[in-house]
């Protein structure tokens, strides 16, 4: 007999959208590996904390509704304690009456939100494509610039002004692309760090067990 659990957690205010969705994705897999199903997982709001938590005065509240067995709250709490970007969390089983209301609300939200979610995913995919394209373009530009530089050194006496102008412009292009690329290139490292967290957490559980033993 599954219960409906509501998980409210505070993600550190420094986390960006990707960081938050990484946290949600991680918890989603945790819930599913415990045999539960996620009904909804979304950012509730970014708000000021009533008191300081881990030195933070602000936090991103994330709310997750999930069906699961009686082991789910403990499993979730354990997982959330290991994630350092989660500064506070709470799992609550919803009472029977309220459960019905919440299920209804989620169903309504799903109908309204499906389109928005799909749109969002499309936008994210597009951004990724653009980033890849930009990366490809930059490497091309680099090659061109290198060739130009070689040409310049070869016949440095000829056509100083024109060549210089071109070389400069291509340089500045590279610079721009580099800047644009800055945030997008960070995408893989973020994922990696998430993986690292998983690795670290495993280690820390091992440590914990060691201490207990």
């Amino acid at each position: 007999m599954p219960n409906l659990y509501e998980t409210l957690l505070i993600v550190t205010p420094e986390a960006d959208d990707e960081g938050v969705s990484a946290v949600i994705g991680d918890l989603r897999t945790t819930i599913e590996s415990d045999g539960g199903t996620v009904l909804q997982a979304r950012v509730w709001e970014r708000r000021k904390l009533a008191y300081m938590v881990k030195g933070k005065t602000e936090g991103i509240y994330v709310i997750i509704h999930a069906d699961g067995g009686t082991t789910l709250p403990a499993v979730l709490k354990d997982r959330m304690k290991l994630d350092e970007s989660i500064i506070r969390s709470m799992v609550v089983r919803l009472s029977d009456q309220h459960e019905i209301d919440v299920r209804q609300e989620i169903a309504e939200r799903d109908q309204a939100g499906d389109a928005a979610v799909i749109e969002e995913q499309r936008a994210a995919a597009e951004r990724r494509h653009e980033a890849e394209a930009a990366a490809a373009a930059m490497s091309l530009d680099e090659i061109v610039a290198a060739e130009e530089a070689e040409a310049e050194t070869a016949d440095s006496d000829n056509g100083d002004l024109g060549d210089d102008g071109e070389a400069e412009s291509s340089d500045s292009d590279n610079g721009d692309l580099g800047d644009d690329e800055g945030p997008t290139v960070e995408t893989p490292p973020v994922d990696e760090s998430a993986d690292d967290v998983v690795g670290d957490s495993d280690e820390s559980t091992a440590d914990d067990e060691g201490k207990e033993g």
Partner: protein, 75 residues
């Protein structure tokens, strides 16, 4: 007895309906009405809540405190 809240007259609660079935701990704006300046839970004798409502209310407030939606103490 004119208007005052001495013995014998029940206080009416202007924020909660009589048939309330659940008080959500995330509803900070509602809960705010039932905590005192120092962050304490308002006693039943001053807000006239039924025992059942007061129980739901205090549970919601305690949950809200846990997740930093409401203060444990202020001032």
């Amino acid at each position: 007895m004119r208007g005052g809240y001495g013995r014998g007259r029940r206080r009416r609660n202007k924020y909660l309906k009589d048939d309330v079935v659940y008080i959500d701990y995330k509803d900070v704006n509602l809960l705010q009405h039932f905590i005192l300046d120092r962050g304490k839970i308002q006693p039943r004798r001053t807000n006239g809540n039924s025992a059942k409502v007061q129980r739901m209310l205090s549970r919601a407030i305690r949950r809200a405190r846990e997740i930093a939606l409401l203060p444990y103490t202020t001032g």
